[in-house]
């Protein structure tokens, strides 16, 4: 009995040690002059609820790394030469606990030079304190949660999405000016109760309630993010007789809402939803041009023709993406662009940082603020690392499925139209 007990424990111990031995990487090479490669650590979610926003980022980041390597690597100022890049990307399966471990693995075992977290705020969140603890600068592609950014944490920068408190600025300005002038004064807000859309809804609500606002909120309700049928909700909204309906949700929510809208007798004068301008391909394929006609949305780089000073244009990137991943079930859209922007920022950081120390990397990233012009516009960081540079104008789909900018006026290519009630 005694022997068996001891053997059981020894077996367990042995197995653990084997596990750890396999898990730890081959010892890192000695510190030399220039490293043979620059290691970029990254996480993606190949499955689970965040896969649909995470995979496009991963795909284009990988594409960017491959392109750099095809050209002999990225120019690294610290060593004054081109050095090949190595992308180490683990799959966290949309599981935050696993994401935390893998981020730590990238830092402590793979000893990556640059650290990029997964997109989506839930998966970004776990990386924020870990990066800070290890004094690693965190390249955050699209995790927009307001809680990540504080003045006392220098170890994060948001690269490719405006922070969620700033993002809806043009929307409320539009509602209070042009939309109100068109008679769209009664506003209904229907939002999915998660960090991303909930924060946007609060910002819009607060702006519309300010003194002197011509808008009136007639419906304001949250629904669980898992909501996949909006028929009854649309009915309830119609009962409050709104002029414009704002539906703020994730891709799946917006698709279900817009499809349900087609099945209804009610036709609202105006409808705004988030994703038609963000993941235009996905929405177009799922809802159709007919279902999107007249819908207002945020216009991202997808609908603007900004001239980048660095990197590809949207159309070049789209072509490269289709060539590399076409037909693989990951659609080209804003998140794919975000992955490319992440690559560009990393490249420029390496080209400007005096050394690969995290402090110098940070300084280089913040040094790009206001100067770097990519396919999404000007890269601009707030003091706490939140992204405030990119523009998210308001656009409207025409009957042909083309998205035109209607607000603000300096970018406008068309005038907003309202549906016949």
């Amino acid at each position: 009995m005694n022997q068996g007990r001891r053997r059981g424990f020894l077996n367990a111990l042995l197995m653990l040690l084997i596990t750890l031995a396999i898990a730890s990487p081959i010892a890192a090479g000695a510190e030399g002059a220039a490293p043979a490669e620059i290691k970029i650590g990254h996480l993606h979610a190949a499955s689970g609820p965040y896969a649909s926003i995470s995979m496009p980022v991963y795909d284009t980041l990988k594409l960017w790394v491959d392109q750099q390597n095809a050209a002999g690597g990225a120019f690294v100022k610290a060593f004054n030469k081109k050095i090949p890049l190595k992308l180490i990307s683990y799959d966290d399966q949309s599981n935050p606990g696993t994401a935390a471990i893998l981020i730590n693995q990238l830092i402590t075992q793979d000893k990556v030079d640059l650290l990029v977290c997964d997109s989506g705020s839930v998966l970004t969140a776990v990386a924020v304190p870990i990066a800070r603890e290890h004094k690693m600068f965190l390249f955050d592609p699209t995790g927009t949660g307001a809680a990540f950014f504080s003045k006392d944490n220098p170890y994060i920068a948001l690269l490719a999405d405006p922070v969620s408190t700033v993002w809806p600025r043009y929307l409320w300005e539009f509602l209070k000016s042009d939309a109100a002038a068109l008679g769209l004064k009664r506003v209904a807000i229907l939002y999915a109760t998660n960090d991303f859309t909930g924060t946007q809804a609060s910002a819009i609500r607060a702006a519309l309630k300010e003194a002197g606002s011509p808008s009136e909120i007639v419906f304001d309700q949250g629904v669980p993010t898992s909501t996949s049928n909006y028929s009854v909700l649309i009915d309830n909204i119609a009962a409050t007789n709104p002029d414009i309906v704002l539906e703020l949700g994730y891709v799946g929510n917006d698709i279900a809402f817009l499809r349900n809208l087609q099945d209804q007798d009610h036709k609202f004068k105006a409808v705004f939803t988030l994703y038609p301008g963000i993941e235009t391909n996905v929405l177009m394929k799922n809802v159709g041009a007919q279902g999107l006609a007249g819908v207002f949305t945020y216009v991202t780089a997808l609908g603007l023709t900004l001239k980048p000073e660095i990197g590809m244009t949207v159309e070049e990137l789209r072509a490269a993406f289709e060539k590399a991943y076409g037909g693989g079930g990951v659609e080209f859209g804003w998140n794919a662009i975000a992955g490319h922007v992440t690559g560009l920022v990393i490249g420029e950081t390496l080209a400007h940082a005096d050394s690969l120390s995290q402090a110098d990397l940070r300084q280089a990233v913040f040094g790009l603020s206001g100067k770097l012009k990519t396919l999404v516009g000007t890269f601009e960081l707030r003091e706490d690392g939140a992204q405030i540079g990119e523009l998210t104008p308001i656009g409207q789909f025409g009957p042909d499925g083309k998205l035109a900018v209607v607000y603000p006026h300096e970018f406008a290519t068309a005038k907003p139209k309202i549906n016949a009630p």
């Binding site: 653990l16 596990t19 898990a23 839930v122 304190p129 960090d195 909930g198």
Partner: protein, 306 residues
Amino acid sequence: MPRAARDFLRVGVPVVLLFALLPLFYQNELLLFNFVLFLILTQGLNAVYGFTGYLPFGYVGFFGAGAYGFALAVMHLAAPPLLALLLAGLAGVVLGLILTPLLRLSGAYFAIANLAAAQMVYQIIANPALADITKGPYGVSLASVFAPRASYAVALVILAFVLGLVAWLRHGRFGLALQAMRDDPVSAAMAGIPVLRGRVVAWLLSALIAGLAGGVFAWHISVFYPETAFDISISIFAIVFTLFGGAATLTGPIAGVLVLYGLYNVIGISVPQYFQLIYGALIVGLVLFLPRGFASLLSRRGIDVP
């Protein structure tokens, strides 16, 4: 020396020591912390499943309640971490008390009802209507108390306590009575064992353990969303590890965590592109070829597994 103390010294102490020393050699402390966390959770699950036969599929509900108990205590009472941790345990126990009526159910009914209960707690905490209290879907940030070393050490203390508790359950009068109830509730009741009270106590102990684990998790990870604290895979992992190690033993769940969670991380790090596929196949293979767990490999040969 009583058998419980002997088991604890021979199995519990080495495990705790091992995880106390490993950070000196291995830097991915978060991975070690998660090992400790699952060692705690599997023993907590063991306390209820191994000794009463109830399998709580929503075990993560207590864990999440603990995590939010800790977060609320820090945010609203400015409680020091150790006090907040006690409140996290309390949150687990209170939820356990509320859910005591579920013990009237059995088998799949209990498992599903418990899962639904955990979902409800999540949905209430994540609801924006309570954002002023829980921060709702916007997530909490506990940067003010963030202390990875200290929280790791406290997790080890909790682990030691839990291992001691299960060693006692295995050999103490109370635990033996529980096992008698699990195997034959009618005869146990006739023999004068207070069946209901025994089950409730095991249930609450298990809830306390998960609450403590959730609290120390919140302390260690410090920035999280409700989805993180109520991630259903926490329940499922704890159950898989416990069942495969062998419930109602002290070493079984430990071996389950070390081997299966070890493999999980090895696969995730070495073959990320087929991570989920390989792990899923591993679980299916284990159920089909080793349905009674690792402990059965030894006990089948007449070896007593502590």
